[in-house]
């Protein structure tokens, strides 16, 4: 028994991502649901149509989640199937690999999104299409951010190898409390609000709620979301190239999957 315990103990202590994974899952869950509970306890009359707003935000968040995880999955599947080396010795530029993954991730996300949208109407009498033409911009913004997170996590996989996998699964949960998906930003403590304002998510979800509740559009939110997306997307691409070169120096590419 002790031997088996040691086998897992050694595995965990030799990998920082695994240690991090143990710590932040409970922290994130408690933080997220704490803010949600706190908001509903103090603002019970805020929403006239709480189910509609929450479901719409849930669908938007799910799209983001699926885009990001979908991108990571494509990368991880190559590692799990031990096909990673084959892929990186094929005559493809890094840009070509990224573009193909970005397009595939979009198709995967849409496959998951369409049934969810179709189900909400008959089940709850709610249509996400109530967001109007700005729905497209919100989805586009979420898609870009989801892809950005996917590229950032894939950079980590390239640089640190498969032990970074757990981070891939939990990135979205890490960001969820700051994304203000189910509650307005003023629910957050001031210090968290500063972090939230640095993410495009808060502008996207604030705007979704604004359209549904106030029936008007604040174009500034859409604009800020796109500007921040452009910044993070650029950083993610730079980081991916950096990680690829670092992996070539460190040897991660040839040992991936081991």
């Amino acid at each position: 028994m002790y031997g088996l315990f040691l086998r897992h103990f050694y595995l965990i202590t030799r990998s920082f991502p695994r240690v991090l994974d143990l710590v932040y899952w409970p922290t994130i869950q408690i933080t997220l649901w704490g803010f949600i509970s706190n908001f509903f306890a103090t603002h019970t009359t805020y929403y006239n149509n709480a189910v509609g707003v929450i479901l719409t935000c849930a669908i938007l968040y799910d799209f983001l989640f699926r885009t990001s995880i979908g991108f990571n999955m494509l990368f991880l599947e190559e590692i799990w199937s031990r096909n990673f080396t084959n892929l990186f010795i094929a005559p493809m530029k890094i840009g070509e690999i990224l573009i193909s993954l970005v397009i595939t991730a979009l198709i995967r996300s849409l496959i998951g999104l369409v049934p969810a949208i179709l189900l909400t109407s008959p089940l709850f009498g709610i249509s996400i299409l109530d967001l109007g033409i700005f729905l497209f911009f919100l989805f586009l913004s979420l898609y870009i951010f989801g892809i950005t997170l996917g590229i950032l996590v894939s950079s980590g996989l390239l640089r640190f190898g498969p032990s970074f996998e757990n981070i891939a699964w939990s990135t979205m949960f890490l960001l969820a409390p700051f994304g203000c998906i189910y509650y307005p930003i003023d629910t957050l403590p001031e210090i968290f609000q500063k972090i939230a304002y640095a993410l495009p998510l808060v502008y996207i979800f604030e705007e979704a709620r604004n359209i549904l509740i106030n029936q008007n559009v604040n174009i500034e939110n859409v604009y800020y979301a796109f500007v921040l997306n452009a910044v993070y997307f650029t950083i993610s691409i730079i980081l991916f190239y950096y990680s690829f070169n670092a992996a070539k120096k460190k040897g991660t590419l040839i040992n991936m999957g081991e």
Binding site: E77, E78, S81, R82, N83, F84, T85, N86, L87, F88, I89, A90, P91, M92, K93, N245, K248, K249, K250, G251, L253, I254, G257, E258
Partner: protein
């Protein structure tokens, strides 16, 4: 004969550890060069550098007269690799895998190429099978088909017959001999199977601790070291070095 692979004084350090300590060698057209050495001697690191998966700390690599550092994509179009440590996606059929790699390598006549390789490697009846459900020998032949899909001029083989039964191993070795002769390609073969190396390789490099400690034709090395076969030469060189250390 033209050198298709030219390696000039390449070194690879991982931090303070010197994995490859300045080795140089060439592989000509229509030649199979054996790369021998105990585990950790630097063989895989050397192959990784030739594939552009590892950046040498110093030194230069030329493939078909092109400098690898500046022409990675062009070189990857004419090179390929097989190793038992990498696999094709298990859930795809054999045909789907070969088709995917044909597209990645921009093969022109995909159907004809797959048909040709299927016939040569006796995998025609496996084309609709799920790759993950194949036996080791079948997977090996499918991987070889993938490695030849782009008609490579340079083929890097890392333990190509490891874990194969003698019949399949012999089939693969015979195939490689004939294919090399027919296409005049260069092959770098890393193997622990000394009989295989003796049979296939015109010359061999013996590596240990990141260095080339001896090189020559298999029979010349056997004669030089006064041994009966290449395995005995391998053991002698490995052990004598250890004693020195």
């Amino acid at each position: 004969m033209k050198n298709l692979i030219e390696v000039k004084n390449i070194k690879k350090n991982y931090g303070k550890k010197e994995a490859v300590k300045g080795i140089s060698f060439n592989v000509q057209e229509n030649e199979i060069l054996g790369l021998l050495g105990p585990n950790g001697s630097g063989k895989t690191t050397t192959i990784g550098m030739l594939l552009g998966l590892l950046k040498p700390t110093s030194g230069q690599i030329f493939i078909n007269d092109l400098k690898l550092e500046d022409n990675r994509i062009k070189i990857l179009e004419i090179i390929n690799f097989i190793s038992p440590y990498i696999e094709l996606p298990k859930k795809l059929t054999v045909k789907q895998n070969l088709y995917v790699y044909s597209k990645l390598y921009k093969v022109q006549n995909i159907k004809e190429r797959i048909e040709y390789l299927s016939e040569k490697l006796r995998i025609a009846e496996l084309l609709d099978s799920i790759t993950g459900e194949l036996s080791s020998g079948q997977k090996n032949r499918v991987s070889l088909a993938k490695a030849l899909i782009n008609e490579p001029r340079v083929l890097l083989l890392d333990e190509p017959t490891a874990s194969l039964d003698p019949e399949v191993g012999d089939f693969v070795r015979t195939f490689l001999e004939e294919y090399k002769k027919e296409k005049k390609i260069s092959i770098l073969l890393a193997s622990h199977n000394m009989n295989e190396v003796t049979r296939l390789c015109k010359s061999v490099l013996m590596m240990k601790n990141g260095e080339i400690i001896d090189k020559g034709k298999p029979q010349d090395l056997i004669d030089k070291h006064g041994r009966n076969n290449l395995e005995e030469v391998f053991l002698k060189l490995s052990r004598s070095k250890n004693e020195l250390n």
